[in-house]
Subunit: 315 residues, 2 copies
């Protein structure tokens, strides 16, 4: 069996976790990975223990693009970057004729909205990009598509997550991406914050961040498929504890609607408390990568949202 | 906008509920429906109030087949029939050149296994059949495919349902299908039972039926996509109260597995207690019908399980 060869853009917390998850899979291997400082390629497959072998580069994305025939799919594991960044990266890949598939764990509505504009270029290249394939959007918004089936009218979709990580600096970019959603903060402001400033902010709240009305793309991805008719019907928020691995609340997707008999009710999808953010992001992203390859195999190309398809099982 | 034209095979509880659900949809209409005694066709669309206009026929399926160019998709709403019945009906449709799509709310493993053999005939006819599109298999087994994403090893999938109906005789065939799973009963024995015998059976248990280790096709449909490697890892059971509309227990899909970090945990998908069996069966069946049309539009033909695709939203 030929393994699916994956390139990972981003070697932070999510990128590293991706290496660890793929190590447990028979069907796939990560053959390339990069961050802003360097990159790594190995036909045999890369484990997180190999990360110290990074080759420095001033244009590591460019190095990965040169290797474009050496992998089948790309997982974009880059949180907390300006909205334009990922579309500009995809443009570089398509310009150079890369015609594989992509999935990403992008979260912000504005970022995914911008990304959606790449549809024509992807189609031209016979490529597939599935956006928002992490936990939210991703796993939980897909669960909302399923839950919606029982109702003839959808009142709202509420996603309330709990994340517990014992050391915030394992997921520096992810934490910054969350801080960007706090009142008075922006993506750029969070990106520019020094670690000591983050520490100070977290000290004021005993290490906890409570986020409400987050700008998460679950809204546009659910509207796109018709689960809701208005973005305001989708709300995403949660509590992150940056000092304890135990989740402060159970991550829950609640969809409320009315059945054809006029009964109002709610379906719930609840993630097990022991599952980490990394497990709930990387797993779906890889399942959707396999789905993206399936789409390409069936000559279905372009830009899609994770709400449009079921992720497949990557064995 | 051209509405999706649906034919419904079966005019019992599920068939009637299908008429009521579709009445609430802008995108579809039911144009044909039949049961063993007769059939009805109306280009304008059929509501449950029209059922008294049934035209008697000795071969009502044959009458529906004659109308094959008048509808785009078929929903098979026929519980409690011998395993061979549905495949034989599909054979009649394919022999006469019907090339639309089908979904069914079949539940039994052996029935869906037999159905799967129709793949070649369906492909030849450029048709699509998605099997097991009700609640279980269907909504809940699809939820298991999503839940599986977070884990690298799946321990088990447990589906435990609660159904409450105030009058058992609204869903005579469905209740018989459930009785068939009780120790000492078979599909044929349940089918042959007189209503008075059913009454007597239900009197002994205060109207409740508790079913364990049911032969439900969630097992083969989850194995087919790789969620489990053994059918024994999937169990389906539940409690039906035939005297109260309130559910005796909340219908819950629990998937237990181990994450890449070695953490054991369970994700849960819980259906709202106020949602009826009909809402949780018909909604998914129609969502999968729209998915089946999408597959046909993309020239992807044959026999599929509901675990392979996300249902779409039928507006």
């Amino acid at each position: 069996m030929k393994k699916i060869r994956i390139a990972v853009l981003g070697a932070g917390g999510l990128g590293k976790a991706c290496l660890d998850v793929v190590k447990k899979k028979k069907e796939a291997k990560v053959v390339a990975i990069c961050d802003s400082a360097g990159y790594l390629y190995s036909e045999k497959g890369i484990g997180s223990e190999d990360l110290r072998k990074f080759k420095p580069s001033k244009d590591s994305i460019g190095e990965i693009i040169k290797l474009k025939d050496k992998y089948d799919g790309i997982f974009v594991a880059l949180p907390n970057l300006p909205n334009e960044f990922i579309p500009s990266v995809v443009k570089r890949f398509t310009k150079r004729g890369y015609n594989g598939v992509y999935t990403c764990a992008l979260k912000r509505t504005s970022a995914i909205k911008l990304m959606m504009k790449s549809d024509a270029a992807l189609k031209k290249n016979r490529s597939v990009y599935i956006a928002g394939c992490g936990a939210t959007p991703g796993l939980l918004s897909a669960a909302a598509v399923l839950a919606a089936q029982s109702f003839v009218e959808i009142e709202d979709v509420n996603i309330w997550w709990g994340v517990g990580i014992s050391n915030w600096d394992t997921y520096r970019a992810t934490i910054r991406e969350d801080i960007a959603h706090l009142p008075g903060y922006t993506v750029n402001r969070a990106k520019r914050m020094r670690d000591s400033e983050i520490e100070r902010l977290l000290n004021r709240t005993d290490g906890k961040l409570e986020l409400r009305e987050m700008e998460h793309a679950d809204d546009i991805l659910l509207k796109r498929v018709g689960v809701v008719d208005s973005l305001r019907k989708v709300s995403v928020g949660g509590i992150m504890d940056t000092r304890h691995a135990k989740k402060p609340v159970s991550t829950t997707m609640t969809l409320t609607g009315t059945t054809f008999e006029g009964k109002r009710s709610s379906h719930k999808f609840i993630l097990g408390d022991e599952t980490s953010m990394a497990a709930n992001v990387i797993g779906p992203a890889l399942g959707y990568l396999k789905r993206a390859l399936w789409l390409k195999e069936h000559k279905i190309y372009g830009m899609f949202g994770s709400t449009e398809f079921m992720p497949m099982i990557l064995k």
